[in-house]
């Protein structure tokens, strides 16, 4: 009992000491606190265009079929349309302001009435195949849906879509939740990693290791200090997501629980990085440098099972993957893998315990080396 009480005092003392130290390095701490919000804002820019291609439509025919075709394009979930003249469209295309120019020819209506072939010219700014292929597929979609609505007797094959969820979730509401995890990750790593490495840089770790305090209590104390500092930053980033980006959580309690779990996981990883690397600069660079790659391999865009096999193999090695699954459930009620939420949570708890174990081990090895 005395031993537990002593360990709790050690934990609290280490946490208090780290908080005080952080307050002496005001600039670093303040900048670090704003990192998660910064990451959320910046990465959201990635999704802001919503995957729709700005496209100019030159209507050389204003007949009812031409108008109907324009409407079909408008409903194709693919374009941001603007009607313009041939000259202006050519200028916009060459200036790189639009992805494509679709020209509806002057004989569009008459050609269709006479059952003659009609060719729609599509000039594409084929900067990259992602956008180009979207256009290459969206025009046939427009053509097919145009025929289905204007000539239902001629084109009788149509798509009958049944959706799994009653409403579509747009790019930003979906991606912003994944980005939240990455933002909390960077925030956690930046709070705990440098604080831990600093003990080695300034050699104060010797005093800690020579004390009778248990290794796990030291580690937990350092984690707790970083979590308490990072908590404010986490609250700010969640508030921005809910009240500014406008994504309402489906399960509030889950959100609170997963946010705390996220802080524990990434702060413990940060302490481990600091203990292993022992220098603040590479710890900071590693913390920020892992953000983009982890964003791409952790299932930020959708279920990981839709990705390539190698990404499917890599993702489960990252706690960010399970956290994205959990956060998407707490916000949108989505299930992104076949495990239950409890199983995902359990895996993360095991992650946290393993990391704390590794930290303790790393500290023990340090004693041996001393």
């Amino acid at each position: 009992m005395d031993s537990l009480s002593y360990s709790l005092r050690v934990i609290w003392a280490c946490a208090k000491k780290d908080i005080r130290t952080a307050l002496t390095e005001r600039l670093f701490t303040i900048v670090g606190l704003f990192v998660p919000v910064t990451v959320l804002i910046l990465m959201s820019l990635f999704a802001i265009s919503g995957g729709k291609a700005p496209t100019a439509v030159v209507m050389l025919d204003q007949g009812p079929y031409a108008q109907a075709f324009y409407q079909s394009m408008d409903h194709a979930h693919s374009f941001i349309l603007e009607q313009t003249s041939t000259t202006e469209a050519a200028r916009q295309l060459s200036a790189g302001e639009i992805v494509a120019v679709v020209t509806i020819p002057a004989d569009f209506d008459s050609g269709l009435r006479q059952n003659q072939p009609v060719s729609i010219n599509v000039a594409i700014n084929n900067l990259n195949t992602d956008f180009t292929n979207d256009i290459r597929r969206a025009i046939p979609l427009s053509i097919t849906s145009f025929y289905a609505s204007s000539f239902p007797n001629l084109v009788n094959i149509t798509t009958h879509e049944v959706d799994a969820y009653p409403q579509d979730t747009d790019y930003i509401p979906y991606l912003a939740v994944s980005i939240l995890v990455i933002a909390l990750m960077i925030g956690g790593l930046l709070q705990s990693g440098p604080a831990s490495a600093k003990e080695w840089e300034s050699h104060t770790i010797k005093e800690l290791l020579l004390s009778p305090a248990s290794r796990w209590a030291i580690t937990t104390g350092k984690m707790l200090g970083s979590i308490l500092i990072g908590l404010g930053s986490a609250i700010v980033v969640v508030i921005v997501l809910i009240f500014i980006v406008g994504i309402q959580p489906a399960h509030w309690l889950e959100l609170i629980g997963y946010t705390l779990l996220c802080l524990i996981i990434f702060n413990s990883i940060g302490v481990l990085f600091g203990t292993l690397i022992k220098q603040r600069m590479p710890v900071i660079a590693l913390s920020m440098g892992t953000a983009l790659p982890l964003f791409f391999i952790s299932g930020a865009f959708g279920p990981i099972s839709f990705q390539t096999p190698i990404i499917q193999w890599m993702a489960p090695l990252s706690p960010a993957y399970y956290l994205i699954v959990l956060f998407q459930h707490s916000f949108h009620n989505f299930y992104l893998n076949t495990l239950s939420m409890g199983a995902n949570t359990l895996i993360l708890i095991v992650f946290a315990l393993v990391i704390i174990g590794l930290e303790t081990l790393a500290l023990n090895r340090s004693v041996l080396s001393h």
């Binding site: 390095e25 600039l27 670093f28 900048v31 910064t38 820019l45 990635f46 802001i48 265009s49 919503g50 995957g51 194709a76 979930h77 693919s78 009609v118 060719s119 000039a123 700014n125 084929n126 900067l127 990259n128 195949t129 992602d130 180009t132 292929n133 979207d134 969206a138 046939p140 979609l141 053509i143 097919t144 849906s145 145009f146 239902p152 001629l154 084109v155 094959i157 149509t158 798509t159 879509e161 049944v162 969820y165 579509d168 790019y171 979906y174 991606l175 930046l190 440098p194 600069m281 660079a285 590693l286 920020m288 440098g289 790659p293 791409f296 391999i297 959708g302 839709f306 390539t308 299930y335």
Partner: protein, 365 residues
């Protein structure tokens, strides 16, 4: 003047020695960009080609034809299975959608009755859902096109591409990543070497010596420039060997010039930040955050021209926008489109950072 360059040269050599004494500096600069490039390449195969289960419950010829059209469209990663297997794959999240050609499809098509291709889609986000919504009609259009003159669809698409080559998404993402690497390289080298002088108080010796502050700044910028330019050139060589870019002739030189100007800008900015903040730790964090801002605002993970106007207006003030544009034009499209504008903006930005950096160091006096 000769003394000035000699002094700058000596400061540069000193900073380079310190830089190579800390190999972690190189790791810090290289790792994020290389890992980013690698991940992009690994994930590229999935972009735009969603996994889909295809179930053909029709035994007729039209069912076979529409299935063939779906295969030919090459827009899915197809699993051709029966309904039960498809449902299992769907439940296990192995496929985004189940495309079903229902029984009696051929009869309905031949009787000119409405015949639907059933699509059950996991619409949890618009990215995947819209891919499916576009791809199934694409296959239907192919089905009709295969009928030639007998096709009831008389409207066809005549595509004209603005550029001679199609560039894959992962290739497209490579150049902004190189620009990011150049900026991080310049900022970290220039920023740390300057901030360290202040933290170790060796700046006093430099400032008390008869060395002009401009020579100190030039020496430090040169060190940052050389390290990040070399790293940038090596990575550029690497992606060329991998076949991600195909520079040829004069465009090799143009590419290297853009790399040089961006490295110079990064190093100048690094020295400015180092002299302004004067502490190593905040310099690192500020440098990395600034790099993220400039990278994303320059359309680092998208196509800037297709982003909202307000974002494009902000990007006008971001020098990386010009570096990325010039590099893409030169290395992908063998084009010098707006090269003069891009070069001037990058050069002026580099000069501006040199001036501000010099003023920041002089302020200490």
């Amino acid at each position: 003047m000769r003394d000035f360059f000699h002094l700058s040269w000596m400061i540069m050599l000193k900073d380079l020695r310190v830089y190579f004494k800390h190999p972690t500096n190189i790791v810090v600069v290289l790792v994020p960009s290389i890992v980013f490039l690698l991940i992009q390449a690994l994930g590229a195969a999935a972009v735009g080609r969603s996994p889909v289960a295809l179930v053909n419950q029709d035994n007729g010829i039209e069912g076979q034809r529409i299935v063939q059209s779906i295969r030919d469209a090459d827009v899915f990663r197809l699993s051709e299975v029966d309904a039960t297997q498809a449902q299992t794959l769907y439940d296990q999240l192995r496929v985004v959608a189940i495309v079903t050609i229902p029984a009696g499809f051929t009869n309905r098509v031949e009787a000119h009755q409405p015949a639907s291709v059933d699509v059950l889609v996991n619409n949890l986000n618009l990215d995947f859902t819209n891919d499916i919504r576009r791809a199934v009609p694409d296959a239907i259009t192919r089905y009709y096109q295969a009928q030639g003159d007998a096709s009831p669809i008389k409207v066809t698409m005549n595509e004209t591409d603005l550029r001679a080559v199609d560039v894959e998404l992962f290739q497209y993402a490579a150049l902004p990543a190189i620009i990011m690497l150049l900026l991080i390289g310049g900022l970290i080298t220039g920023g740390l070497s300057t901030a360290r002088e202040f933290e170790d108080e060796t700046i006093k010796e430099l400032l008390l010596s008869p060395v002009p502050s401009a020579a100190i700044v030039v020496g430090k910028v040169l060190a940052g420039f050389i390290t990040s330019f070399c790293l940038g050139a090596i990575i550029l060589g690497g992606v060329t060997i991998l076949g991600w870019v195909h520079p040829s002739g004069i465009y090799w030189l143009v590419g290297l010039l853009v790399v040089a100007l961006t490295a110079l800008f990064g190093a100048g900015l690094g020295v400015t930040i180092g002299a302004s903040i004067r502490h190593v730790m905040p310099v690192i964090v500020v440098s990395l955050i600034l790099t993220f801002y400039l990278f994303f605002l320059a359309g680092g993970v998208g196509v800037l021209a297709f982003e909202p106007t307000w974002l494009q207006q902000i990007a006008v003030f971001d020098p990386l926008t010009y570096g990325t544009h010039a590099l893409q034009m030169a290395l992908f499209y063998q084009s010098s489109d707006l090269l003069l504008r891009d070069g001037i903006v990058l050069a002026l930005s580099a000069l501006a950072t040199l001036g501000i950096g010099s003023a920041a160091v002089r302020r200490v006096i």
